[in-house]
Amino acid sequence: MLKITSRTLRSMAMPATLALTATMALSAGAHAQDKTFLIGIVEQQLANPFFAKLQQAGVDAAKKHGLETMTAESSVAGDSATQVAAIENMINRGVKGIVLDPANASALVKIVQKARDAGIIVVTTNTSLEPATAADASYETDNLAAGELIGKWAKARLGSTPARIAMLDYDLSDKTAKARHDGFLNGFGIAEGAPEIAGTALTQANVETGQSSMENLLSAHPDINAVYTINEPAAQGAFLAIKRAKKDIALTSIDGSCSGVRSVADGTIGATVMQFPTNMGTLAVEAIVTAVNGGAKPSGINNSGTILITDNPVDGIESKDSKWGLENCWGE
């Protein structure tokens, strides 16, 4: 499962500002009719700790404002039907805002339109609809920016050594996978098909396929010295192959799960980019509260944060160490 999000200064400042605005709005409008209302939160399958964290953050943020929430989640990956039914129910129940983590970018456009026609503010999290303007706004990881961070780090780490890169991808028709892939190449400063790319392989974003893909690539190109991986399980698999081949390779990844950050701490992964499901859920609910209470309506695609986590920082790229990472990671 891909988990997709910079805790830059900007995004750290944003929740604080939003919270402040919302608190002011609440206290100023204590007698306003929108003092309490219902918010719907539609997630993807909660067995994935990323989605569970996102939903919990949304519920907590709503609770902070004394608001009730109504939650629903898809049963398996890509299950948009359950989400459509959930949104229909939420429209009937008269929610004022919906936080949606769409299981499918196009399948939910119609029902979201219906909700917005009914005057409901719909904010997507984690990933946006196609087109993104189908919802009021989106709070998600800028995966292109995330890829660029590890691309730049790998480039700096190699220094003057000629690069031999392995790309461990996930299905590139997946928006997130493509953005991360393109971002890495941008950050490294090379184009698709550049001679620096020794080989690419398609993984299923898990340990097992990360391992066998890396074994095959290393067998074909023993000179590989930098690796991009779609997510941390794939990186952990790649490391098993690298360890067996006894190579010193700059291994990079994206996600910021606690397991991934531990791999940074023990030297398995050179650098990873953390994304922030908690920010997504909190920012989305705050935006809805502000808008419902007469404040500005949210708009656009907003980066919920991307931060480079590494214990080998390089000049010119802002990063945090694995200790900070362990305090801010998500999942197990």
């Binding site: 097992e208 690539l217 074909a220």
Partner: protein, 349 residues
């Protein structure tokens, strides 16, 4: 049943003498003979020639394919699917199919992994084995008692067990630290070449199963049921009993496959091996076992599993996009089944 009435080939198949046996119970032999018409040589030579051709092509077209390190890697990469495919072969031989085998293996692995994480790897392994056998037996039970088509029964179990493994683990994976649980990934090493215990185990399991299928009465019944359950039943074979035993035994192989998987990748991960079920079917089919049942064997499956892995490995060495690798594998499957259809029709006419 007298073993002297059967002629063995070295192709992992039992062949029944076409001449009347002349010894009681004559009915059984007549039935088995009829049933065995389909058994006639669908030799393992087809897959073997294909494998050798593929090996030659990659050796000539790439500079990195043909070296001892890479060849030992291919063996290591084959063991999991190869072991799963042994169970799958049994099931396909009785005209069944198992879409749940990967999910059964993964559930066994995560249960074993979670118990091992609490400090008892031996208990974990035993419970994992039990999980695999029970789950596989549920398949057998649904298919024999309730007469559900194997495709549907195992598709249902596949869906249930995939979700169950996620729920059980809360989508977490368990790193394995026990040497015993990961021993199959170890083995004598010569430079970059490692002959893992897992590779040895895979070969041993293949030999044991080939023996059971070719040298025991149970094996003959398996082939007989695959050819014609009605004929087998008429001849006194407990068809449901044998089919159930096939599914339950397959569970033992899935448990071994899970052990192989922990040796290769020391982590019990509920998101792993999502398409191992299809890969195992691919290995069986490319290995020349008929999806209609009754023809083929584990020697072919052994080669079939190697072909699946060699294709992926060799095409990567040749720098060919992974999507084309999948296309190549798909073509091979269609080719293998097409050949089977063609031969099957010829023999059964």
């Amino acid at each position: 049943m007298q073993t002297s009435d059967r002629v063995r080939t070295d192709t992992g198949q039992a062949k029944i003498d076409a001449e009347p046996a002349g010894s009681p119970p004559a009915g059984l032999f007549a039935g088995l003979r009829r049933a065995a018409t389909g058994l006639f040589a669908y030799p393992v030579t087809g897959p073997l020639v294909a494998l050798i051709l593929i090996l030659i092509v990659f050796s000539v077209t790439t500079s990195t394919f043909l070296n001892a390190g890479n060849l030992s890697l291919i063996f290591q990469q084959s063991v999991v699917v190869g072991t799963l495919a042994l169970g799958q072969t049994l099931i396909i031989l009785v005209s069944g199919i198992d879409l749940a085998n990967g999910a059964i293996m993964v559930l066994g692995m995560v249960v074993a992994g979670s118990i091992a994480a609490n400090g008892d790897p031996m208990l974990g392994m035993l419970v994992g084995l039990a999980v695999c056998i029970v789950a596989a037996s549920i398949n057998g039970l649904i298919i024999t008692r309730f007469r559900l088509p194997p495709f549907i029964a195992t598709l249902g179990l596949f869906t249930i067990l995939t979700a169950a493994a996620r729920l059980y683990t809360q989508s977490r994976s368990y790193p394995i630290n026990s040497d015993f649980m990961t021993i199959l990934g170890e083995g004598p090493s010569f430079g970059l070449v490692t002959i893992t215990y897992g590779s040895m185990l895979w070969i041993a399991l293949t030999l044991v199963l080939a023996y059971a299928l070719n040298q025991t009465a149970w094996g003959v019944r398996v082939y007989a049921i695959g050819n014609s359950p009605a004929a087998a039943r008429l001849n006194g074979v407990n068809v449901n009993g044998v089919i159930f035993s096939v599914y339950a035994l397959a569970g033992v192989f899935y448990a071994f496959a899970g052990w192989q998987a922990l040796g290769r990748t020391p982590i019990a991960d509920p998101s792993g091996y999502q398409i191992a079920n299809l890969d195992s079917i691919t290995a069986v089919v490319i290995g020349g076992t008929s999806l209609f049942g009754g023809r083929g064997g584990v020697a072919g499956t052994f080669i079939g599993a190697l072909i699946v892995v060699v294709l992926k490995n060799g095409l990567t060495q040749a720098g060919i996009d992974s999507l084309y690798q999948q296309i190549a594998t798909g073509f091979l499957v269609i080719l293998a089944v097409g050949a089977d259809q063609y031969l099957g029709r010829g023999q059964r006419a």
